[in-house]
Amino acid sequence: MSLKLGVPSKGRLMEKCFDWFAERGVSLKRTGAAREYAGAVDGVDDVELVLLSASEIPRELAAGRIHLGVTGSDLVHEQLADWQMQVVELAPMGFGHADLIIAVPKVWVDVETLDDLDAVASRFRAAHGFRLRIATKYHRLVREYLRAHGVADYQLVDSQGATEGTVKNLTAEAIADITSTGETLRANHLKILRDPPVHRSQATLFAARHANWAEAEQAMSDLVARLGLELPEGALP
């Protein structure tokens, strides 16, 4: 039996991921026709490449259908409740950096921190009769962050895309979204709060706690040695 390694199936994330493994002597490549999602691994025996959408990798890891997976840490933390119980973080890979941040209109000259946002939320609710809306698709991460910091009187509204536009469109007062350069935020007249971001994301190699490791033991120890990784003590059964 082989070890299943899930990697993003397209784009820069896939290319960077292939580079990362290549630098460590493991060659990953797509095979077959240009649009066929099939792949091969050279350099370690009994490792099977599974090409998946980056956003599906957390779910596949949690279900144990793949042993290892590469995806953004933001997706794992957002999609998996109690993620440490389901996956082990093996290696941050140093690319795909992006911060999950909270941004408010630039004209809010009175707001720089969460402390201000909380105070404004209270006044906003009193003035407008509803809780200040924060548009995001990262519901779990943002809610946990605001709860840990004791922010009240807000509500999360779902936004699956073009989140920066929600403030201008009057469907939200603030946003929480992933940004790498901040350019889209500036173009939409928003600014980032000064507090540390909700989450600093990067592409990360994860291992699934609930995968069948008995069948992949040899391949895993070969791969770990090749990649120069250290497995946390007792991390996998």
Binding site: M85, P105, V107, D115, V120, A127, R143, H189, R194
Partner: protein, 359 residues
């Protein structure tokens, strides 16, 4: 019938014998009411589902809200209600997602001390066969202490809003005392805001976007400037407040220690505590042996604002067997102007079923 269901039925019967009228509540509750009361945090703790015509619904996380609403619709006063049934709480770990609650609620305008004592004495009696540690507290004393600080009404309101969020409360208190990272950030902000008028800065910041108007922004700029002129809350008072928050001792002694603070703002709240202790004594509960923890009830979402209590199993890592308290403010919010002083509590029969009875 499980042991827990049998216990629930027996408790309900005893509550009825104590004069309570049984009430039912729908399992599906409109999410909006609960979200407005408890905030977005409740989404992490309650199951939300969607109804095509009624919108977001929640599997009831407790009975308090529907029982208060039912009372507002139909109730004569004073009124005693009891109920039993499953509640649903989202969990990430291996804790129960669905469990039984048996509850008792008392709505009465007169003599709150006697109402508090009646509920606590009833729970003591219902649970007397088990080895439990009772604990009491009083959110009203914390509110009185905050209201008695020498500072602006805005600062007091900000602190009162966060009594149930200890971490933010502490950060605010530190800032208002003129210390810590929040105080520094605030000083920098105010310094920048001093350089020109609010209107000029808003115009300079670029395009106006969003619902929050320039007038609202300018109004808060004015508030920030005024707040910067407000002297820090005296260190002595912060220390006193911290001392009160940390108070843990038998109730009679707690009352004596709080009186010894010689803080006039506390007097009405302490008079209420004293009246409650007398009422408890009259109901057969000795206040000299009754544990009192001033911060008890601060981290639950239950919205209690006066007397609070719990019964905790001696063996660790079980949820409290029973919790309760006074929630006058919640009835005002739900009653949209109409309010009725209310006190009540719930018991978890599943937890009881895990405990051995005293012989």
């Amino acid at each position: 019938m499980t042991e827990a269901e049998r216990l629930a039925a027996a408790l309900l019967e005893q509550m009825q014998a104590a004069g309570a009228q049984p009430v039912a509540a729908s399992i599906l509750q409109p999410a909006e009411t609960l979200l407005d009361l408890y905030g977005e945090d409740i989404r992490a703790r309650a199951y939300v589902t969607h109804d095509p015509s009624q919108g977001e619904m929640m599997l009831r996380p407790d009975f308090t809200v529907p029982v208060v609403q039912a009372h507002m619709r139909i109730g004569a006063e004073p009124a005693r209600y009891c109920y039993a049934g499953p509640v649903f709480r989202m969990q990430t770990r291996a804790r129960a997602r669905e469990y039984l609650q048996v509850g008792f609620e008392l709505f009465a305008r007169d003599d709150p001390a006697r109402a508090d004592a009646e509920v606590f004495a009833l729970f003591t009696e219902l649970l007397q066969e088990y080895d439990l540690r009772p604990v009491t507290g009083d959110i009203g004393i914390l509110k009185a202490a905050v209201s008695g600080l020498e500072t602006s009404p805005e600062r007091k309101a900000a602190l009162l809003r966060h009594i149930w969020r200890p971490r933010r409360f502490r950060a605010l208190l530190e800032r208002m005392g003129g210390h810590g990272p929040l105080a520094e950030a605030r000083a920098e902000l105010v310094q920048r805001l001093e350089t020109s008028s609010a209107q000029a800065q808003i115009a300079e910041a670029g395009q106006m976007v969003g619902l929050r108007s320039a007038a609202e922004i300018a109004a808060r700029v004015d508030l920030l400037r005024a707040d910067a002129e407000t002297p820090p809350i005296p260190q002595m008072q912060v220390a006193k407040l911290e001392e009160i928050l940390a108070l843990t001792c038998p109730a009679t002694e707690a009352l004596a220690q709080l009186r010894a603070q010689d803080w006039p703002a506390l007097t009405p709240a302490l008079d209420r505590l004293e009246a409650r202790l007398e009422a408890l004594a009259a109901a057969g509960i000795a206040p000299a042996d009754l544990p009192f923890e001033a911060s008890f009830g601060r981290t639950t979402m239950e919205y209690y604002d006066g007397f609070v209590f719990g019964f905790i199993a001696a063996s660790a890592d079980l949820p409290p067997v029973a919790t309760g308290g006074r929630y006058d403010a919640l009835t005002a919010v739900l009653g949209q102007g109409r309010a009725i002083p209310a006190v009540g509590g719930v018991i978890r029969p599943e937890t009881l079923a895990l405990l051995e009875r005293k012989v």
